[in-house]
Symmetry: C4
Subunit: 254 residues, 4 copies
């Protein structure tokens, strides 16, 4: 019933937008398949033609997300085409990052396991590895308790989203104490890339610390490797690989 109504009222999107939404579905599955996201977590894109809007799935595990689950929201996270669909309660994470950061066009919120221990022990994640240059020199830690006291740790209103966005500041990544992390980047593919290597870097950094004194990437190396990470060739090579692993057989644009 709800589905029928949704179909009836669905905005007629351009071919360009439909392509972006198809990629968003792929991104959801990649993030689930690579272990960044489990039952929870979500990934969005800014509307390619209307910077005051973003696209995010209805309340559903990312591995199961299909085109029909994608909804449109304004930057206050009000739904444009709800049609009775249940929504993620944490969509203000997305809305407020898009509002505060004109350079951000895709956001991923996740609970990747390797990040949790860093989030509850004061952080300290830095890239040790060329593919992780893109996570940035430092990964700040946001603690919801600082501004909002005792909560269920979810970012469920715009004030919370603004507070988180303030800690994210100009960074591409941020941990959330006792909860997870957020990744905000210039496009969808880079967001997936950063989310996957943020997770991998955390696991390897923990191991490195246990082995001895760690040589982190230098400031210049971080800058140079992040430029390299975001080259079209690197991005496409990784995207094709992850998409195939996630079950998308058709050749992607590489």
């Amino acid at each position: 019933m709800a589905k029928k109504k949704a179909a009836a009222k669905k905005p007629a999107y351009s071919k360009k937008i439909e392509q972006a939404l198809a990629d968003l579905v792929i991104a959801n599955r990649i993030l689930a398949n690579e272990g960044v996201i489990d039952a929870f977590g979500h990934c969005s894109i800014r509307h390619p033609e209307n910077p005051g809007r973003y696209f995010l799935a209805r309340s559903r595990s990312p591995e199961l997300v299909e085109r029909g689950d994608i909804m449109e929201f304004d930057l206050d996270s009000n739904p444009i085409n709800a049609d009775g669909r249940t929504m993620y309660s944490e969509r203000p994470i997305h809305g407020r990052l898009y509002k505060s950061r004109a350079d951000v066009n895709s956001v991923c919120h996740n609970h990747a396991h390797s990040l949790i221990p860093f989030g509850v022990t004061g952080g300290g994640i830095k890239p040790i590895w060329h593919v992780a240059g893109c996570i940035g020199h430092d990964v700040p830690v946001w603690d919801i308790r600082a501004d909002f006291g005792e909560t269920d740790l979810l970012v469920t209103n715009n004030a919370m989203g603004d507070s988180l966005a303030k800690t994210v500041a100009k960074n591409r990544t941020c941990l959330m104490r006792g909860h997870g992390a957020v990744v905000a980047s210039h496009d969808l593919k880079s967001t997936v890339f950063v989310a996957i290597y943020l997770m991998a870097n955390a696991a390897l950094l923990k191991e490195a610390r246990e082995l001895g004194q760690v040589q982190y990437l230098s400031d210049a190396e971080v800058k140079l490797t992040e430029q390299m990470n975001f080259k079209e060739r690197s991005q496409n090579r990784a995207w094709e690989y992850w998409a195939r692993r996630a079950g998308f057989k058709t050749a992607v644009n590489v």
Copy 2:
């Protein structure tokens, strides 16, 4: 032969009960697929219409459990419809928890790997992460040796089940020294949820301890996150995801 007799004598259950048993089969497969349970361990539900009874599979690995394997027991763990089927020797874990805790409608006993090291080193598991608020402030450790001396560590009679239930007390989770753990919650889906995040929290807590001083969830955060964990939306999102991963393709009620 035994199977034929079983078919003949099988109680005629209501549609509601058959739906609950179908979910119990799914829960068995989810727990196996997510690594909570291997060849051993089991999961039960209280009879939805008769609080003096519970349902549990015959002696079989959870990953293989089918509808025809589900048996009915009274709270002393006597079978109602054995029909020659072999039974788990540890069913008193279930019977005595149902007897002592009117609020418990589902029980899972498991040997999830990340829990074993905590059980043999004095415990100390506490939630560090919002999805683990549901495990409770503390996870007690029951040692069968305290009441029963040298044993094979199995909970094979009602006295042992009572002793375990006494340590579980009002908690939702409890470790068993040198053996595993028990999860007891208000319904089947929440039991599966708690079992999975108890396992994940233990693994991440160990890592966090190795990184530094751990910030656990505060008492208030535990209360607030467990309320949030048990909301229908959270439970259904996770259940749909885990059921699909375990091979149940048909849409569940979400």
Copy 3:
């Protein structure tokens, strides 16, 4: 060509033996599928009707072993029906354990990853967990260098096999420094069971040591849990589970 000859000269085995060989194929696949064995390692059974003989695959990775790969050997590890097939160079591990231990009817040699670190740091594996009671109170470590000096660490002749068997002594398990482990038990299913839980116990013991002071199973608990581990019900439940995971769909005898 070689295969045709093999078929022509194959001894005509009884139905009982053929069943045992079918189970040996399943055991090979289970051990590979559960991660006990990778490209290397092997598993054998004593001839059910002739204690002076044993069955072991030709030189092939266990995951790929089929009925046609199984060869018969005497206790000096001479082939009875080679038919040009290449043999494992380490078959004396099997021959000499069968020779020295009338109670042993199945042997598994493996390089399970969790065992290697213990083998090169002096051992110390003891059961911490009821399903690992079957590995025995202690797991000795054999170092080929003690009797044979500098070698490639392989057990390639009967003298080496005798030396290893002397260290195994009356135990069911033994580590081999810089190499792997051996499991020797009263039948095939128990050998698979012990191999899997020896591997799991080592991984969990390492974690437990990192958490704090470890409570091992007491001597009496080891005895009582190993009796429990080897009950037919336990063995069959685990075997059915592992066989199904390894792709054997047909119901096993449970």
Copy 4:
């Protein structure tokens, strides 16, 4: 379009070379399937009939590489048959190792996770295990910063390739600080073998160090085990196993 031109201009290779290229495709998939390589990393062979040339895939994730992706290069890493295909920027790793080492006929560059922590903490990998004898007594660490200062860590020109080759020297393996590793061996199968066990040995060495004082293989044991590792029987057994796991069903030459 590019593909059509490629087909038209493709050199006519001998049957022997086509067989070698088919094996190179298998090697790419094995390395991906065993976790040595993810989206990035690559594996090459020297031209079997022309030592001044080598074969390497176009810029594509190894798991997806097909016969049509394989390109031919000279030792300065100029393409012989580019046909518009995008190339790996790090092909000088391959070219300069072939140029400096007449005994090397296959090279693998990878970012296997277990190696990264060693590369940023001063190295120290040595074989602890007979299947890892082939990695050599020592695994040197190359730091691109020593000769080239601040970079994006990629080996993108011949001078960088020469510098790396100088550190590799006569070894079969070398770590690259903040980046990954290189394996250079006498043929394709041994390169795959060394890459897989270099990765496994690093993970197990870390665990062993955490358990206590590590007994490494002695110098003589390293020599004897590497001879043993490279015997045709060992190589073929492992290759058949890994190829089957990677989805190549047809029997290989064993």
